[in-house]
């Protein structure tokens, strides 16, 4: 039986697509896991929207400078060649199209690339928007990591987003627990699918027409024990 990827595996798979020399912003949640799975022979600069270009490894517990934090409010370190700046400069960098890739989480992605990731319409919850809208319009390529379906098996890849949009027509690639998909003029195009999953079942789990790339292949990832 087909085994969906866990969180670390999804993040690992996304990380393999980060090229040498790339400037990359990772959203909170699964995206930020990609940093630790990036191939070690590649020189990648991770940007943090609160003002770091070149986020390094997490310090040992209790170590590090509490005034040096990333967008997830974690104490971090800097890598060689890192720089620090203020939020206005950071979002000038983001909005100005200087980041090669942003990887974001999402509630829904539509077949035209629309992204919904900031407002799940929870009753009685105040809104939380953060930097997602700026990243979604600013980065040269917007990738999404998310589960293919909700827990109730409703699709997250949809014809039209029902949640409020983060940005219009921006998503280029999606890493799910079942597949890697691109978005192009055809809509969702599966490039990789987990071994053992029927194409028809993937299509059924997808809320919009699904095309399979001519060279669609197996989606595999190393084992990670993330307690998922």
């Amino acid at each position: 039986m087909a085994k969906p990827l866990n969180r670390d595996q999804m993040a690992w798979r996304a990380a393999q697509d980060l090229p040498d020399g790339a400037y990359v912003n990772l959203g909170l949640g699964m995206p930020v896991l990609a940093a630790s799975h990036a191939p070690v022979d590649r020189d990648i600069f991770f940007q943090s929207e609160n003002g770091i270009l070149g986020v390094g490894a997490l310090p040992e517990p209790g170590q590090g400078d509490r005034e040096l934090v990333d967008a997830g409010s974690r104490v971090v370190t800097l890598r060689d060649g890192a720089s620090i700046f203020d939020s206005a400069a950071s979002f000038a960098m983001i909005r100005g199209g200087h980041l090669d890739i942003t990887i974001l989480g999402a509630f829904q992605v539509a077949a035209n690339g629309d992204l919904a990731n900031w407002d799940a319409l929870m009753a009685d919850k105040g809104p939380l928007i953060g930097g997602a809208m700026d990243l979604a319009v600013g980065a040269r390529a917007v990738y999404v990591i998310m589960r293919h379906q909700n827990k109730d098996a409703t699709p997250r890849l949809v014809d039209v987003c029902t949640y409020p949009l983060t940005a219009v027509g921006v998503v280029k690639r999606i890493y799910t627990d079942l597949a890697v998909l691109d978005i192009d003029a055809r809509g969702f195009v599966a490039r990789e699918i987990i071994p053992g999953l029927d194409r028809a079942d993937l299509a059924a789990a997808t809320g919009a027409p699904l095309t399979f790339a001519a060279d669609c292949r197996d989606l595999t990832a190393p084992k990670f024990d993330d307690g998922d």
Partner: protein, 224 residues
Amino acid sequence: MINKQVGDLAAAMLGIQSGAALMISGFGNAGIPANLVRALAPMDLTGLTLIINAIRRLDDCDAALFNEQRISHVITTAFRGPGAMPANFEAQWQRGDVTLEIVPQGTFAERIRAGGAGIPAFFTPTAAGTTLAEGREQRLFGGRMCVLEEALKADFALLRAQKADRFGNLFFRGTQANFGTAMAAAAEITVVEVDEISATPLPPEQIHLPGIYVDRVLQAPRLD
């Protein structure tokens, strides 16, 4: 002679009145002016507008501000706290005691930067085509839809830095600067708490924010 150092919290907070608009810097636990924020609640103010990136940081810092219903309006990028129970301010928002303007973080930073830079309004692609743009002026530039955003200004800005000198020049450590540099320029009066006030002028290559933007510096230990 210019000397922007003040001796105590009372001098630092002088002039903040009911109805004032306050910008408060900080991101995560970096650059939070916790001493100044905690001095607000006892001041018997009402009708404050807060311009702050993440309102729950303030709730962490001094929930008394909300307990005492001193705040009537919040401009922020993140209003929701984590966890199942609504935070204190969230309950007040649900009751309608606090009104809210939610702003994407990059637009938030740029509106504040514009406020200090004499730019009254600008177009940005951020939020175009979303519910946040409804009822707002949108326009195509280079084939791309953009939203008109207006500058944000305030009566006071509160920030934390690592070092200052008597001229008000600031040095930030780590990611302390975040919204502070923009806020300092966008507010009428900027008050900064610092670890250290240098007896000699900060060397130009250490200055992240020129003293022209700073009105008062108070030496005060970092609060958790």
